[in-house]
């Protein structure tokens, strides 16, 4: 509390619960255990809380930056931008939502794809930007995913996709539903050619993304405690009028129910994924 606040009568003070506890900058607070963390430490730890191991959400660029080797990266489909043929408008115009999301994230849409390598092992990686309209899948996400798969097929290298999405983008109406079919069909093409596809499910992966390519990995990997499912917990609660079981739709729940292959700590993803990919491709494990 500052000296100024100390001399204020208590009635004039703003309740701290209504304020952002820690300003952007040097320090940050764990969204899991509320521990106050030194930002530089947290970043070195790939945004995993050193106190409670909580995996915080990270953006698409940072995800790819921490997953891929520094050299030889090439972005795929960066020239594709969203359009609004339906002129969709709810409480706000879709066009305005797009502009706002683009300004806030610096991305044109919610998926970023790159060719690159992990420990020298070449692959294509794509990652969702959850802050871009909840990582929702519209036409651009679908097209970029397909182009990433195309590069995988052309170069015969694996595809890894990090999902973080609320599902299909309602503002693109039926176009967005069709992206489920389009992306799943691209995964079928990879399978036909024997090219590995690793789906990494991160917090959260829901709706049309989970009900398409994200569940179709040759291996499905999840980060700890990620929310993964088709319908959102609130929708289910309203439908069945029951309280949901503890840990429902979390990574550990999915592992128990057989939906994913393993749960991996973010800091181990490079090692574990490249190791399995090397076996699938019958090559030496990269070190």
């Amino acid at each position: 509390m500052s000296w100024f606040e100390k001399i204020l009568p208590s009635g004039l003070r703003t309740s701290t619960s209504n304020k952002r506890a820690v300003p952007e900058g040097l320090w940050t607070k764990c969204t899991g255990c509320s521990a106050v963390l030194f930002r530089a430490d947290l970043e070195r730890n790939l945004d995993v809380c050193p106190k409670c191991n909580h995996h915080m959400r990270i953006g698409a660029r940072r995800r790819l930056d921490t997953f891929l080797d520094k050299d030889g990266r090439l972005e795929i489909g960066g020239n594709i931008e969203p359009d609004d043929v339906l002129r969709f408008k709810d409480s706000k115009k879709y066009r305005d939502r797009l502009i706002q999301a683009q300004k806030a994230t610096g991305e044109k849409d919610a998926l970023v794809a790159m060719k690159g390598a992990v420990k020298g092992f070449p692959l294509v990686a794509a990652a969702f930007e959850f802050r871009f309209m909840g990582g929702s899948m519209g036409s651009v996400v679908g097209e970029r995913f397909v182009r990433a798969a195309d590069v995988s097929m052309k170069e015969h290298i694996p595809l890894v996709c990090f999902s973080a999405s609320g599902g299909a983008r309602m503002q693109e109406a039926l176009f967005s539903l069709m992206q489920m079919a389009k992306t799943s069909a691209a995964v079928a093409q990879l399978r036909k050619r024997g090219i590995p596809f690793v789906s990494v499910l991160t917090d959260p992966t829901m709706g049309g993304v989970s009900a398409s390519f994200a569940m179709l990995g040759d291996i499905n990997v999840a980060e700890p405690n990620a929310l993964i499912g088709f319908a959102g917990p609130r929708v289910i609660e309203q439908t069945v009028r029951e309280t949901l079981p503890e840990g429902f739709q979390r990574s550990e729940f999915l592992l128990e129910h057989g939906a994913i292959d393993f749960i991996a700590d973010r800091r181990d993803l490079r090692d574990r994924i490249s190791k399995v990919m090397a076996m699938f491709m019958n090559e030496a494990t990269p070190y």
Binding site: I80, L86, E172, L174, A181, S184, F230, A231, V235
Partner: protein, 321 residues
């Protein structure tokens, strides 16, 4: 006059006329006065009124027609169009889902595999069929039947009519997402022709899970959307009461979807929509199925699969800069 529950609100003027006609018929039966002229006049008027009402339907009105309680369901069309239908049950892993029906039948003598959502007519059947909202075992049964069709070189005919996938705890436990996703993947590569027809509601992933094919058709007053209008309204407008606005914004009716290239063909419904004349509707649907099956059946399988994949790839509205 009280509301006739077999008619939607916007059809009530027609309902009133029809009631009057019915009344006159009764009088006509046991009286000597010739009122046939009057009946004929009213019938003509009723038809004109219906034509007038149906010439200018909103997206929301169409979505009500798509869920009309009297609208023909999958089993009705199977009964009208196919012969020797034998229903096949179960996903071989967990259960049989009555919200999706499937089986073999003959279409003009040729064997086909039919898969469709099935809603219930009365309360008991509605509960049993979960209002046509499938659970994972429903999609897995559908997939099993599709692969069966592939093995025995039978084309697959699907009928789509669901509000959407069932949002339940058990459905999540049994991998709802994976079940839908796998169908999309399998259908994109199934080595036999697939024709999908939206006959009522085409709602979200639950619809798409049997909706990937070589030819996708819609009945004139069916709808197809990424989420139900109520669902969209409750998320984007924070109130399910704004469903009519959501329906307009999403463009869920066939003509616009055809214009956008998202579906291939619209099958015209009889005056007043399918339930008014199930026979005519079935005949038109049958003709469309035969015509498409004939054309698709002549394509070599690799060409067919290539075209199916290309069809999926062109779905998208984006700019390349």
């Amino acid at each position: 006059m009280s509301m006739d529950l077999n008619y939607l609100q916007f059809e009530q003027p027609v309902a009133e006329l029809e009631a009057k006609i019915e009344e006159l018929r009764h009088v006509g039966n046991d009286s000597e006065i010739n009122i046939n002229d009057e009946i004929q006049r009213l019938e003509h008027k009723s038809q004109n009124l219906t034509r007038q009402i149906f010439s200018n339907l909103s997206q929301w009105q169409i979505s009500q027609l798509a869920r009309h309680p009297l609208r023909p369901y999958t089993l009705d069309y199977i009964d009208q169009i196919f012969h020797e239908f034998e229903e096949l049950h179960g996903d071989r892993a967990f259960a049989d889902d009555p919200a999706i029906v499937g089986g073999v039948a003959r279409l003009e003598g040729k064997p086909v595999m039919i898969i469709g959502h099935q809603k219930g007519r009365n309360t008991k059947e509605k509960i049993r069929r979960n209002w046509g909202m499938p659970r994972p075992e429903g999609y897995r049964k559908a997939m099993r039947l599709m692969e069966l069709a592939e093995r025995f070189k039978m084309p697959v005919v699907t009928f789509i009519d669901t509000t959407g996938a069932y949002c339940g705890i058990n459905a999540e436990e049994r991998g709802q997402s994976e079940a839908i996703a796998r169908n999309l993947l399998v259908m994109s590569q199934l080595k036999t022709p697939i024709i999908c027809t939206v006959i009522g509601e085409g709602g979200s992933g639950g619809a798409l899970a049997i909706g990937v094919g070589d030819r996708v058709m819609m009945l004139q007053y069916s709808t197809y959307s990424v989420i139900s209008p109520e669902g969209c309204a409750s998320i984007l407008w924070k109130s399910a009461d704004r469903a009519s606005e959501a329906a307009e914004a999403m463009n869920i009716a066939a003509p616009k979807l055809k214009e956008l290239g998202l579906i291939d063909q619209i099958i015209e419904e009889p005056l007043g929509s399918a339930y008014r004349d199930v026979e005519t509707m079935s005949r038109r649907l049958k003709e469309a199925l035969l015509e498409n099956l004939d054309r698709l059946g002549q394509m070599p399988i690799d060409k067919l699969l290539d075209a199916r994949y290309k069809r999926l790839l062109q779905f998208g509205n984006y700019r390349e800069v």
